[in-house]
Subunit: 230 residues, 2 copies
């Protein structure tokens, strides 16, 4: 059975990617980061997903991005709420974490080399998050090229590195449609940038907005839990 490293945040996108990779016959090694997010809801969701999918191994890696600061996800800057889709389209939001996907993929690269494989899955998506440069195809391709020059296994062992980004050109609505056909239980997942301690989503941040819209476009009620006021 081919092994793969899957970046698993516990969100809608990465859980769909896990289902895609498993369906494609990969043994899943899930990598989740505890990177000074405001909350642990995402990590609890990732643990539940890992359990339900009976993945081979799940590593939760603490990394400290707070030392650098620079993002509302890793500092005390407020998360923007109630923005329209047009507002989201202007510039890169404060929820952008500097070089986050570069760091995540670098760790995935390290683990995949130790496992003796080169398949890495990431749930980046260029359409809904076009504001994040490290979610675009150009970035993913450039990372893959670099990775093939970076490791002993790629250079000497002739095991090429492939960065699989199966959602990169899908809309949120299409991602949910794909997940539903694969039987993904989205009640396990956590998408919100600013959930309550109980894990309930805020319903007002960009991530909640896009998620709710994606379910609505599929004519399905989002099975996630939202705070009553939202």
């Amino acid at each position: 059975m081919k092994k793969a490293v899957v970046l698993l945040s516990g969100g809608l996108d990465s859980t769909t990617v896990l289902a895609i990779a498993q369906k494609a016959g990969f043994e899943i090694n899930g990598l989740t980061f505890s990177y000074g997010q405001r909350h642990e809801t995402e990590i609890l969701a990732a643990k539940k997903v890992a359990e339900v999918y009976k993945i081979n191994k799940h590593i939760i890696l603490p990394i400290d991005l707070r030392l650098f600061g620079g993002s509302s996800l890793t500092s005390d800057t407020p998360v923007p709420k109630g923005r329209s889709e047009n507002e989201m389209g202007i510039g890169i939001p404060s929820t952008y974490v500097p070089a986050r996907n570069t760091i995540f993929l670098s760790y995935a690269l390290a683990w995949s080399e130790v496992l003796g494989v080169g398949d890495i899955f990431i749930g980046v998506n260029a359409l809904d998050y076009s504001g994040y440069p490290d979610c675009r195809p150009g970035f993913v391709n450039a990372f893959e090229k670099m990775a093939n020059l970076a490791t002993k296994l790629a250079v000497e062992g002739k095991v090429p590195v492939t960065i699989h980004a199966p959602l990169i050109n899908l809309s949120k609505s299409e991602i949910i449609k794909k997940g539903i056909t694969l039987g993904v239980d989205y009640s396990l997942t956590s998408t919100c940038y600013d959930p309550a301690k109980s894990g309930e989503a805020c319903g007002g941040c960009d991530a909640c907005f896009l998620r709710l819209k994606g379910f609505a476009e599929n004519g399905i009620k989002d099975p996630g839990m939202y705070r009553k006021e939202s």
Copy 2:
């Protein structure tokens, strides 16, 4: 004053790079990793170097590469000793840490973006460590290309990322010669893969061998401390 992020291990190479960057007029922000090395000697050396050079800021970032394993520097596999230069030239040694420089540069990229700059210095060297793929020019160039697609600052702010690797084509002997002309005090630095708890170098590992040879070729006594038996 232009700011730069300098990867500072506390070794001979990165200390020379720091001196080069400072001489070139950069304000130095030093980044050191505590990555499950066997010892803290390197980190103590990095602290001393940061102090002597009065750098702007020094971050020591704990990152856990032990979770993945795969290297004699981050596990209990013995460090090879007493190898000849020919033996070192064959294949990639067990001291290779999977994707290490990719991870280090990714963090440097994150910090440089938060600082609002794109200049990153790394002391990689292709000649003496030709066995490490992530010390070669092709890797450094590919990382730079990827980095210029990865960050908000590079993509939107038009602040290009430059990975400076001023030692990449120098021999150890040439690096030492350069450092001496810049007044580097190499007694501050730690190079050994397997130092004693006191910080004394073993004198027998590949890194010690290359360092001692580099000083000998310059007709200078290595000011580093070695264990008596070596």
